[in-house]
């Protein structure tokens, strides 16, 4: 199978994620979109890894997973704290710092 297809898929996923971050307002959804971007990068890494016949791309993917997990932990903690305080996870409601 042509690896280019995977790259296209990964680029589409990444763009979707980035778009989601920019237009969605719910912190959790924004966060999910970021995770989607990370996973898109992972897909790209694995594809390139296969194209180059080298393993370091896969190792990178592993580490990305770890980082994504750590991000989930930290992010969830922050979002829940804000959520518990404001009873809303909308980014728009977090407006105390509006310029």
């Amino acid at each position: 199978m042509n690896p280019d297809s995977y790259l296209y898929l990964s680029a589409i996923l990444f763009s979707l994620g980035a778009l989601g971050v920019l237009i969605r307002r719910d912190a959790i959804v924004v966060f999910m979109c970021i995770e989607l971007m990370l996973n898109a990068a992972n897909l790209a890494f694995v594809t390139f890894s296969r194209m180059h016949g080298r393993l370091d791309g896969q190792i990178f993917a592993f580490f990305t997973m770890v980082v994504a997990a750590a991000e989930v932990v930290v992010g969830l903690a922050i979002i829940i704290t804000v959520f518990r305080t404001r009873r809303s996870a909308s980014v728009d409601d977090a407006n105390l710092l509006k310029y």
Binding site: M65, V66, A69, V73, L76, A77, I80, F83, R84
Partner: protein, 119 residues
């Protein structure tokens, strides 16, 4: 890709069966409208109005989810290490001990601070 064809086949069969069941279940059964029947079940008393999803979850569940992620990631690293263990030798063992100890430090912290207690 061929490897996954059998799984796909099994998946198609299972999906066909499951969808068939869900659809047929809604067709074969009787339909007798009753407002109380369609209410949420709360042991017969008037259900408490609440949003879908029940609003807020106890924070404990999130904590469990976070801990799970941490350990699951540990496992992600354990598996390839375990499979390649014989080739890695002492180096692999030492690195993994270091890694596991680090995770255990976090684990000890969570334990001591009551993160594992479910009240």
């Amino acid at each position: 890709m061929d490897t996954y064809v059998p799984i796909l086949a099994l998946g198609l069969i299972a999906a066909a069966f499951a969808i068939f069941s869900v659809v047929i279940g809604s067709l074969t059964g009787p339909k007798r409208y009753n407002r109380a029947k369609l209410d949420s079940y709360e042991c017969g008393i008037e259900p408490t109005p609440q949003p879908v999803g029940g609003g807020r979850f106890p924070v404990k569940y999130y904590l469990t989810a976070m801990l799970f992620i941490v350990f699951d990631i540990e496992i992600v690293f354990l598996y390839p290490w375990a499979v390649a263990f014989d080739a890695l030798g002492w180096f692999g063992l030492a690195e993994m001990v270091l890694f596991v100890l680090t995770v255990l430090v976090a684990y000890a912290y969570v334990w001591r601070r009551g993160g594992l207690d479910w009240d």
